[in-house]
């Protein structure tokens, strides 16, 4: 059997008792519950333990001694009723306070207890005994309390009375008491003001709001996940393309190297008269290619439906975060169109640099011009020749690839590029941007630093 009393009831009893200048007694109101604890342990599947829990909600002090019993200890039922009135049903025990006495039930208390048990019909009526002990010089006073259940056997009469939150609360948390507050005023106030905190289901409103915020955040996270997945896929695809192109570049290089070798050998075999011619055509071809590129560059914007797509691109750029937009457009723009570009500020100079060929030593904005391996460092230094060639070849390859890949589309590179750009989801711009800066290393290791 366990018993608990709320802190305020306990202090109220103590207050009444300590302020009386004689012994004091009263009744305890509350309820008795049966609690069943089912515990599962390694040795048993389940063991149910049934304990009775006595909860003391309130107390009813008697105004004076002998108020409901006579000298012989016989209870007068009328007096008892007039004291208890309608609270009689919730009586679960009674208490007595006496100073400087032993913690033992006295003769009269035992007699009264027996009669109360019968009259009130509570088989396990409890008796709470308070004892107040003072030292001789009144320096220390101790309030001792013992809860008895005298109707049980002699050896098992004392029950521990727990008072929630009375103790060392630095180690434990403040517990919400299981003993309910039965005060009417309290319930009224809670009813009136409860609507501000609780919705109709009795759940606190704050909880709902927080939950809504949580759900919204979850949705966003889910959406972002989807985007991330898509951009990852595109990235994968592009990466594959890049790898393929690399392979082709390597292949072509080998081929051209072999061709030149053959040519040289054949030239050597024929005569030594026209050594320059060999180089020229070889030079011419890339140059021609390059020059082919450049005149066509200005043409593109005028003849092709690029402007609208470019405008689309621009509009896309506007919608994107500034850091990401330049890269995308920059990725695409370095294609010759940049010469006549309507003036997207950042890619402009870059495009100019490319379009005007390699002689220009434009400053490249390393930050915002991540995109192009084509740029190299844009210095036009001689070391770039191979790079330029490579760039040009890459252009060709890209063009070819694009042409090959997207035959159904317009032949214009830009369109392809733009359509590619259009295909690229918004979120991936940042990823491409991330990739490109690596290509701009001053060492000009454009190829090697291609993003993987």
């Amino acid at each position: 059997m366990a018993a608990s009393i709320s802190g305020y009831t306990f202090s109220s009893v103590c207050y009444h008792s300590a302020n009386s200048n004689s012994d004091h007694e009263g009744f305890l109101l509350g309820e008795v519950r049966q609690e069943e604890t089912v515990s599962i342990s390694d040795t048993q599947i389940s063991s149910a333990e049934l304990i009775q829990v006595v909860e003391i909600h309130n107390h009813d002090p008697c105004a004076q001694l002998f108020s409901f019993y006579d000298y012989a200890g016989k209870i007068n039922e009328e007096s008892l009723n007039s004291i208890l009135k309608d609270r009689r049903k919730s009586v679960i025990g009674w208490y007595r306070f006496r100073r400087n006495t032993q913690q033992q039930m006295s003769f009269r208390e035992q007699i009264i207890h027996k009669q109360l048990t019968e009259l009130l019909g509570v088989p396990d009526l409890v008796f709470l005994l308070f004892s107040f002990i003072s030292t001789a010089n009144s320096s220390t006073h101790a309030l001792e309390y013992v809860l008895f259940r005298p109707n049980r056997s002699r050896f098992n009469q004392r029950i521990t009375l727990t008072i929630p939150n009375l103790g060392n609360t630095s180690q434990q948390e403040y517990k919400v008491s299981s003993v309910p507050n039965t005060s009417l005023s309290y319930t009224q106030v809670i009813k009136e003001h409860g609507a501000e905190f609780f919705d109709k289901d009795g759940v606190m409103k704050d909880i709902r709001t927080i939950f809504q915020v949580y759900s919204a955040l979850q949705d966003k996270v889910q959406a972002v996940c989807g985007e991330v997945e898509q951009s990852e896929r595109v990235k994968e695809k592009i990466q594959e393309d890049v790898n393929k192109l690399k392979q082709q570049i390597a292949l072509r290089k080998r081929k051209t190297a072999e061709e030149e070798k053959r040519l040289r050998e054949s030239q050597n075999a024929d005569s030594h008269s026209t050594p320059e011619e060999n180089t020229e055509p070889s030079l011419a071809s890339p140059l021609s290619r390059i020059t082919f590129h450049t005149p066509s560059a200005p043409e593109r914007p005028s003849t092709s439906p690029n402007p609208p797509s470019y405008a689309d691109l621009l509009s896309q750029d506007d919608s994107l975060l500034s850091s990401s937009s330049p890269p995308t457009s920059a990725a695409l723009l370095p294609r010759p169109q940049a010469v006549g570009s309507p003036g997207h500020p950042t890619p402009g100079p870059l495009g100019m640099a490319l379009g005007l060929g390699l002689g220009l030593g434009t400053s490249s904005n390393p930050v915002t011009t991540p995109s192009t391996p084509y740029l190299g460092n844009g210095d036009g230094s001689s070391s770039d020749s191979l790079d330029r060639q490579a760039a040009g070849q890459e252009d060709d390859e890209d063009d070819e690839d694009d042409d090959e890949e997207e035959e159904d589309e317009d032949s214009s590179e830009y369109e392809n590029l733009v359509s590619e750009a259009a295909h690229l989801p918004v979120g991936s711009a940042s990823i491409l941007a991330q990739g490109r800066p690596a290509a701009l290393s001053p060492d000009g290791d454009a190829r090697g630093s291609q993003t993987t």
Binding site: N19, D23, Y71, T101, S106, S138
Partner: protein, 386 residues
């Protein structure tokens, strides 16, 4: 527990309760053992600690009972002195008397100073009844009790204490305290006067302890009130026969009683005999009597002359005279010993018979003096100096 003199207790108790306590500590004798009066200790108060004193209203009362001391808490309320007290019966947690058997509780009258004492007496009666109920656990002891109860000599003056079972062996133990119906009234007053303690009532109590329910270990003990003990010759008077194994109290107690009675008779007789003896000497030696103990008749001094030789005879009569022979001490009036004392000779064995009456003893004594004196005289002259 602090020993508190009754006066201190009365001083500290709340004034309204003082008369009640007064009758308890001053006149309170409950039970058989009235030599130990009721003691009050542990006076405490039930008022708030700032109440100015004296305001004590609760205390512990020590009550001797059947060889034990009961320590009962009595709880009043100083602010409501008209209300009857409450009791905590110490370790006797199962003792719960019926209030209807306590008339002084039901009709508690705080104005009657004797009320508390009467109530305590009624409680003791109920306690006795409670102990009797506990005694029923052992049929043997119950038999002892019942048999004694039937005897009017003992039945009314018996206290029993059916003690707790011995925790080691689980054995049941009990103690019987009986007041022996021995009449001490004829004991000469002189014997009873000389005690440092307040003599109180003269009583002889027999305490018989049964250490087990089958009465195989029985330890009897006799308690005499101090004056009786002194009158009967000290602690040697307390020797009583051992309890016969297999015997019953109903046989043993009368035996002890008889023994004690006999002793008392001896003492009484002795007194009378001594008186008679001295009276006889007085009549025989008349003017030779120097002095004699007129109260206890234990001593007698004669100054006699034989052939111009004067000598003193001191006669010391023992307690168990005439069984024991008086001691004669002859003393010369002339001669001194080396240590400055008068020369004397003690004679313990001389013709004597306890069956002689006083007169006869006086005559024979006279004859003996005559025969002995020459011897003494020579001795005195020889060993003493003038």
């Amino acid at each position: 527990m602090n020993n508190m003199s009754p006066e201190v207790a009365l001083h500290r108790i709340s004034p309204e309760l003082r008369p009640l306590l007064c009758s308890v500590v001053r006149n309170g004798r409950v039970g058989l053992d009235s030599t130990n009066c009721l003691r009050v200790t542990d006076l405490k108060t039930g008022c708030t600690s700032l109440t100015p004193g004296p305001c004590c209203d609760r205390f512990k009362l020590h009550i001797p009972y059947a060889g034990e001391t009961l320590k009962w808490d009595i709880i009043f309320n100083a602010r409501y002195p008209e209300l009857p007290p409450d009791f905590i019966f110490g370790e006797d947690v199962e003792f719960l008397p019926e209030p209807s058997e306590l008339p002084h509780l039901v009709q508690w009258d705080a104005g009657n100073p004797e009320c508390l004492l009467q109530l305590v007496k009624e409680l003791i009666q109920q306690y006795h009844h409670y102990q009797y109920q506990r005694l029923r656990e052992s049929s043997r002891l119950l038999f002892e009790y019942d048999s004694l109860l039937e005897d009017p000599n003992y039945g009314r003056n018996m206290e029993i204490y059916a003690g707790r079972k011995n925790s080691w062996t689980g054995e049941f133990s009990a103690r019987f305290l009986l007041k022996l119906p021995v009449d001490f009234s004829d004991i000469p007053v002189y014997l009873l006067k000389d005690t440092a303690l307040d003599p109180g009532e003269d009583v002889a109590l027999l305490s018989v302890s049964f250490e087990d329910a089958e009465a195989t270990q029985v330890f009897p003990k006799l308690y005499l009130s101090p004056s009786i003990e002194h009158a009967l010759g000290g602690s040697s008077a307390l020797h009583i026969p051992a309890f016969p194994s297999g015997g019953c109290l109903i046989d043993y107690v009368p035996q002890v009683c008889q023994l004690l009675t006999n002793k008392v008779q001896y003492v009484i007789q002795g007194y009378h005999k001594r008186r008679e003896y001295i009276a006889a000497f007085l009549s025989h030696f008349g003017t030779g009597m120097v002095e004699y103990d007129a109260e206890g008749f234990t001593k007698l001094t004669l100054l006699l002359m034989w052939k111009d030789f004067c000598f003193l005879v001191h006669v010391d009569l023992p307690l168990y005279f005439p069984r024991d022979q008086p001691t004669l001490t002859f003393q010369s009036v002339y001669h001194f010993t080396n240590s400055g004392q008068l020369y004397s000779q003690v004679q313990k064995s001389y013709p004597y018979s306890p069956r002689w009456d006083g007169n006869e003893m006086a005559k024979r004594a006279k004859a003996y003096f005559k025969s002995f004196i020459p011897q003494f005289q020579e001795g005195a002259f020889a060993n003493g100096k003038l």
